[in-house]
Point group: C2
Chain length 620, copies 2
């Protein structure tokens, strides 16, 4: 597959009438396509407002996407810049980044004329014109090194072949056409150079608090790392705060990505080490290195996290993250995830995170609380499941004990699973009724974990229940996937960022082990003791020996829906709040939230334009 698309033979062979001359072609209809001139489009729309969001779509930086959001009109304006365009480009969205069943816009040439259309790919990757054209082309411009497209798209189109743009992760897909196609239907995505990029398109636009006059910055950056030519590298770098660094509030942070490496730096996190150790070795190397000191496992308290596409993270005006001072470790660990699928060699990088902090402490300390499942093998997912759900609870009993009467206010959230996680949601329930979604990602990817500002702050009061559910896909597995710390084990966690900080660090659950043992006993009795799920075996061993027929799968689901739970209602990872936390009843939920489905029948505004657009532009 050709990587660099610098030649332009197809493009050069296009007739290049001026924009004015193009008007004479208005009445020429090509096949089923209605002709709309770019000239007309260009004159009818004023240039768009600047685009606050940018991302490179491909590792070579051929495609650059910028966008802005109108929450009032529920419309996104996209600007797509293409370098060294050959014969066309496709761009779109799909459920999980596949090129099949994707919602696409297509720019292509038949060698003579060029077209723009709203399209979709079927389950075999073949491309079809959308019956309803919802992507409106506003501008096509030659640039010095390629082309720039400007188009807009409503969040909701009511076209069943279109992607529904929601608050969560969006898998953008792209492809490059290297030769002309006689028609749209002649294109199959399987023959193209394609890829995907994940992003949250509908970012929160909470107004940015102004920085105080005494704001200072500190960069936690990798020290001139030679990026390994492996697809995946987690780089670990330990550094320390100055001696006698007093307590400050982090009030904002942002990524500092070395120029040219934008497509390689996937995500970064800064962790604070545990205060219980006086010092930590200043390690600098791959996180999976055998040389990495074990003590670094105690550097897990998240101070800042950034992922591809994320902008600067601002704390609310009334809160900041305390760091420095008494009772807090001076040691910080930076983790950089390099994603280098093309195995580029010799690239050097000094990316990291820039912390903005102030000595003038804000009203509240911000805190991070862990919701979801305890890291224990008793919560497991059978193999070959397409959408198995595990749920962790933060019960009313725990919030009653640990939260102040005035409540806490969650303003941001970071969802976390390991490799089989596909969806994550946390819902708040009060008086047995689900009331609101704290954070939901129906297109969650373990490869894209950002801290997201909530569009609306969620207040949690004593007695409230927080229910975190994760959906897993284990189609690729032969054995059960148990809960745990390992990358091949699973987690279900929502790190919520809130204020005022409380002692509650962890509010999670797992099924009661005694009930799980009853399940294994049942599996055994149903299978005539052919399978050893003996209690002497470890829980992972027991899960490994379960024969995964539909009955044993359904029973496990039924067990997780029914059995009492063990709660972790903890101050720090070891210290529990006082009380009985074993054999707790599952929270009773009498009414659940319904999925918000867009209200399409009653004349949802959709922009319908002509079936396809013939485009022309002057040559650079």
């Amino acid at each position: 597959m050709q990587a660099h698309l610098t030649h332009q033979h197809c493009w050069n062979s296009l007739p290049s009438p001026s924009v004015r001359e193009a008007a004479s072609m208005y009445s020429t209809a090509v096949a089923i396509f209605l002709v709309i001139l770019v000239a007309a489009l260009q004159s009818s729309e004023p240039p768009e407002s600047p685009f606050p969001y940018h991302i490179l779509l491909d590792p070579d930086g051929i495609l650059e996407l910028s966008w802005n959001i109108s929450y009032v009109q529920e419309v996104i304006h996209f600007q797509l810049k293409v370098q060294g365009l050959r014969a066309g480009v496709l761009f779109g969205m799909s459920d999980r980044g596949e090129l099949e069943n994707a919602d696409l816009i297509m720019l292509w040439t038949d060698g003579n004329r060029s077209y723009f259309a709203d399209a979709w790919s079927d389950q075999k990757g073949q491309i079809h014109l959308d019956a309803q054209q919802d992507c409106q082309l506003l501008q096509v411009q030659r640039t010095s090194d390629g082309l720039s497209l400007l188009f807009k798209r409503p969040f909701v189109t009511c076209d069943p072949n279109d992607y529904l743009i929601e608050d969560d992760t969006v898998h953008l897909v792209y492809g490059i056409l290297e030769e002309p196609f006689q028609s749209l239907e002649a294109i199959n995505t399987s023959g193209l150079y394609t890829g995907l990029q994940r992003v949250q398109l509908l970012k929160s636009e909470v107004p940015t608090p102004t920085m105080p006059a005494d704001v200072q910055t500190m960069e936690i950056r990798a020290p001139d790392v030679l990026i390994p030519d492996n697809e995946t590298t987690y780089w670990c770098y330990v550094t320390e705060l100055p001696q006698d660094f007093s307590q400050h509030h982090i009030i904002m942070y942002e990524a500092v990505v070395t120029e040219g490496n934008e497509a390689l730096v996937h995500h970064m996190e800064v962790f604070q080490c545990a205060a219980e150790f006086k010092s930590f070795p200043l390690f600098n190397g791959p996180c999976d290195s055998k040389m990495k000191p074990d003590r670094l496992n105690y550097c897990r308290h998240v101070l800042a996290a950034w992922a591809l596409g994320a902008k600067a993270f601002y704390y609310p005006e009334e809160a900041g993250v305390a760091f420095g001072g008494q009772g807090s470790s001076r040691y910080l660990r930076l983790e950089v995830h390099y994603h280098n699928p093309r195995n580029i060699q010799g690239r050097r990088d000094s990316s990291g995170i820039r912390l903005y902090y102030t000595a003038t402490l804000r009203q509240f300390n911000a805190g991070i609380m862990e919701l979801g499942l305890v890291y224990t093998p008793v919560m497991a997912i059978p193999p070959q499941e397409t959408a198995f759900v595990l749920t962790g609870y933060c019960t009313d009993k725990c919030t009653m004990l640990a939260l102040p009467t005035s409540g806490i206010h969650i303003f941001a959230s970071q969802l976390h699973t390991h490799l089989t996680g596909r969806k994550v949601v946390t819902v708040l329930a009060r008086d047995g009724q689900e009331r609101m979604v704290v954070n939901r990602d129906n297109h969650y990817s373990p490869h894209f974990q950002e801290i997201r500002m909530l569009k609306k702050v969620v207040s949690v009061f004593p007695g409230d229940v927080l229910i975190t559910s994760c959906t897993y896909n284990t189609e690729g597995k032969k054995l059960a996937t148990v809960g745990g710390f390992g990358i091949l084990e699973e987690m279900c966690v929502n790190y919520v960022h809130y204020y005022p900080q409380t002692e509650l660090e962890l509010c999670k659950s797992a099924v009661n082990d005694g009930y799980l043992q009853k399940y294994f006993h049942q599996v055994n009795s149903f299978n005539n003791e052919e399978v050893c799920t003996c209690p002497q075996a470890s829980v992972p061993e027991q899960f490994t020996s379960v024969p995964w027929n539909s009955y044993n799968r359904d029973m496990l689901k039924a067990l997780y829906r029914f059995a009492p739970i063990s709660m972790h209602c903890n101050k720090t990872s070891a210290v529990r709040f006082q009380g009985e936390w074993n054999l707790q009843p599952l929270p009773e939920i009498t009414s659940t939230l319904k999925d918000r489905t867009p209200n399409c029948p009653n004349g949802q505004a959709v922009s319908r334009t002509s079936p396809a657009t013939v485009i022309n532009w002057g040559q650079g």
Copy 2:
């Protein structure tokens, strides 16, 4: 509650302008109501074609409904005749005949003026105007003894407050307003005289075959029965065919209902007795009488069945039901279900069924095959379930053995459950894929079991699978409901009428008993042997001792989805086809049919008229 509404004081107080005079009122708008004159409506629509379908809605015959169907326009025209109208009437449809959450048309007066509107009742029975008026009033006429309304309604309106009219049972509801109401919103259905009537509105309009010249008729009628003044009576009457009655084909039958008793005769069936007994006692009395000879239990082979609202039943031109002649019993049993909720006394009845038959045998014998579940307690429904599904299978192994290569052709179907049945559906699967619905009733009522002509004949070939699922509501029960013959036990059956007749009379399944015992063993082990579900106990006793928590419910569902089945692939109720029928695998279904949802977004044609209509009519 007043039963007979012969006075008309409110109605008499209405001004009674002639239709012509009414034109002067055109511009008067009352409150939010737009005025549309009946006069104008009358002139704009030609008189409708005759109404082939009729039904009395209430036991007193105050409300008579007639209708016709346009399958091309997907519209029903209704004619509602009201006797002795006081202050108004409501008519409509709801899920199961309740007056809450009903889709209604309302005719009411405020004492001065009268109105017609498309409306709906909320969950408390309060009535509201529909935002979208889909019932179009075409004519209002005074009659000698009341009023006649003509209106039309599309099958599908896309109004979420409207009922979706489908092929299956429709629960019609009605109510009589005895006094004026100042507004629609002031009406609550709970204060009215109301009721329900079940009917299949969208009847099959398969063209009626012409009767041959030699057609003869025979009436099987109750001999001048004094209808008991109980709400429910099943009357049994045994009669016999003439000596030496040779084989004939029944090619049609229809109900003969004694005039005046239309509202009391609920359903009737004619059964042929078993050929194995030479004679049967000529019993005539209530079917539950202690005097009824036990031998009548052998009169179960259905020859004809009629239920309220059903028209004549015609066999396809190429087939008829063989009766008479060698190897067939001369004895017939008529069963009449009298429904007398108002305990009317002294009414005499000679209703029955008129058989049309011919000595010129048709090409094929028609047969009846029983699909669904075996009558056995191993198939059970836990108590307090709102929609528990049991499924019976007719497997490929059985159809392979029993059906001719050219297949059989199902042209009619009668669904059957006992009192907790709420839905029944039979689906045909081929090569592991569900292909078509044989018959479905999502509003099935055990009180309304008709033989229905299929709109499309379904051909079944060797290797096909027929899957019959019944949905039960056991909210009123404290103990499990097991399968069986008793009225408090349950059944799940589809009697399909087909030709050419085969030896296969019964193709049904039930869960393997050994696997059910494993389930009981599991229930026991999970509950620490607190509950005795010992195998010495009978299956109903075992089900009675299950503690019905969510785990045991889910496990039972999982068992029915997983466990092997025992097949009844029978020639007559005792004789099985040769082969191994125990421990059969459940049919594997890889793709299921989707529920057809009406395609509303893309401009489904709905008739929108004014919010409400002020009506006037001349006084009789």
